[in-house]
Symmetry: C2
Subunit: 356 residues, 2 copies
């Protein structure tokens, strides 16, 4: 390993790349990691000098608060390569702001903007070979922060670790998914942490989702915890409903993640003259629309899955099938988003961020 | 380090005890750990052979699901020593059942009963010197399970680690605490994971609790997330209200941890002929009782704090002070519980479990 210093980040390069051992045509999401990772510790009240080093296991005390109290947040973003080998991020400022919003809610110190961007860009330059060009290919980036202080009292830690790890990816849900509208379990409450990418929000969904999967549904669309009458979002995607030619999506609140893909689709819809209502949407409204033929599409929107068409939903023991037309909004938005992300279409809103 | 095998647990003893470096008169909760820890990994669909080894840091992949999705649960229990050097646990079957209930909700495989008890008892025998006799002294035991699989897809892991770490303790809140009744933030929702000792439930409370602390209140008493009208529990304690000579505590449900101390106090109250109502208790009722002088006590009940008297509460910007009488129920229950736990009083319900 050779040690060099660049941009104040302390860099230790991997002696040999693992890239030749990876079959890029057969990638399972989130299982293979690139050669390097970014690490920055918070100690003595401040973020210390960041480091990039070979990806690998780390040493941590069993009493670290992250294990006991779930004091941890994360982000999910992607890097894309165009056919000229140029590398782009998509609206990374949104992820930067969101991780700090999540951190604030979890009593974790905010991370400096310059470290976040220098870390990402330096890492991407080192591991650029892992980003394959072509629509559908990307490098999934996972910034996250964990409470490392070795003390099991139930209060905020004084030491933390911020990391970025990178995993080459194809899109997450390759087939259309079937969903259940939640009627018993719930994801978050008003005044809770649902709007944050707090680690515990995700583990809490595994069991109900497993139950849904046993019945043939891959995902749950969460409803409000009080009444289960209003549709909110899926486990890792915001949700859009197309009724007639109009889109509807739930508003942001305490309980819903303010998704970057969601807000981009709302903007693209406006660009294309597609009406999009951001408002509460009830289970009853969607069932009625399904029955009278007005419900044309449901799709999920998120960085991992991009746009994921939903082929059926279940509620009260009844399954409602969707038509899955070829000229769906889901397809239009997906190809527009991928086109912008891969530098194949005009970026009218300045969403692409080139890594140079 | 010498390697021996006992009861199927693989034991590696510490070459030298750290106990002489510890000042038992000045213990901060959860910062000092004993010489050994218990470790058992779940792999290939089953719990592997357990191990006891010197307490120390462990190696884990940065992509381990616990860091990203908070798939983790824990327990809190204590070991006590009487003046003859006999060591006792208090209702450990309750903790065993509860950790598996928490695990089930978090899609974590349940842990075998024999491993749990053999692990605890073997560890306690090895580290028995760390348990000091005398009321107020104890060894806090922290069993916990974390998802270790190195893969960042949002679904249950296939590998886990169950551990027990031990920390010598005095009682947690030494002084009476002041609390705020929650009006904005919330701890859990119906259909959520509030009843489980899931890691993420705790980290989510840190920020609101920090805000309360800035205003001079150490803890929050959570209310129902929907209306904030009903009092539920504190961050690590169940709550009892004494109105006149009657006790009231909230019923268990999806949102509240089914505390061992709480259920023991309900039993002791019945033994002593103290009326205890287990029912919803509203903020308004407690404020009214405070105003008309009927509210005699509020106290928290939990393993760490045992019984913790509350000296004041705040709601709607107004502070209500409690009288803190010498003959309080809080004191009676605390000394009865400690008496049973330390083998100084009759154990009429068979709650003590001797470690032999
Ligand atoms: C709960 C939840 N909702 C929605 C999303 C989609 O957000 P984004 O489009 O920013 O990836 C995600 C994934 O990040 C998520 O975790
Ligand atoms: C949320 C919560 N409530 C109540 C309690 C008290 O439970 P127990 O008496 O079993 O320690 C605890 C602590 O374990 C807790 O974490």
């Amino acid at each position: 390993m050779s040690k060099t210093t660049s941009n104040s980040i302390h860099i230790t390069k991997a002696t040999q790349s693992k890239i030749d051992t990876v079959n890029f045509d057969d990638l399972q999401f989130g299982r293979v990691f690139t050669d390097h990772m970014f690490v920055c510790d918070f100690e003595d009240g401040q973020w210390q000098r960041p480091e990039i080093k070979p990806y690998g296991p780390m040493t941590i005390d069993p009493s670290a608060r992250v294990f006991h109290y779930g004091q941890a947040v994360f982000e999910g973003m992607k890097a894309y390569k165009d056919n000229d080998g140029r590398v782009f991020l998509f609206r990374p400022d949104e992820n930067f702001q969101r991780i700090n919003k999540s951190s604030a809610r979890m009593a974790i110190p905010e991370f400096p903007e310059s470290y976040f961007f220098e870390g990402l860009e330096t890492l991407l330059k080192l591991d650029s070979a892992w980003i394959k060009p072509g629509i559908g290919n990307s490098l999934y980036l996972r910034p996250f922060v964990i409470a490392t202080e070795p003390a099991i009292s139930a209060s905020p830690a004084v030491t933390y670790r911020f990391m970025i790890i990178c995993s080459p990816a194809k899109s997450y849900y390759s087939d259309a998914v079937k969903v259940i509208f939640a009627q018993k379990y719930s994801r978050s409450a008003d005044g809770g942490v649902g709007f944050a990418k707090a680690a515990g929000n995700y583990g809490a969904q595994f069991y109900p989702t497993t139950l849904a999967q046993k019945r043939g549904y891959q995902q749950i669309i969460w409803t409000d915890a009080n009444t289960h009458e209003y549709l909110e979002e899926a486990g890792t995607m915001n949700i859009f409903f197309r009724v007639g030619d109009k889109l509807i999506t739930a508003p942001n609140n305490d309980r819903i993640l303010d998704g970057v893909t969601r807000k981009s689709i709302i903007q693209l819809a406006s660009d294309m003259g597609i009406a999009c209502e951001v408002r509460r949407v009830s289970v009853q409204e969607i069932k009625d629309a399904a029955k009278n033929g007005e419900l044309k599409e449901i799709f999920g929107a998120g960085t991992a899955a991009v746009v994921s068409p939903i082929s059926a939903f279940e509620h009260d023991g009844q399954e409602y099938k969707m038509a899955m037309e070829d000229d769906s909004y889901a397809k239009i938005f997906k190809s527009r988003l991928l086109g912008i992300q891969h530098n194949e279409q005009d970026d009218t809103h300045g969403w692409r961020h080139e890594v140079v």
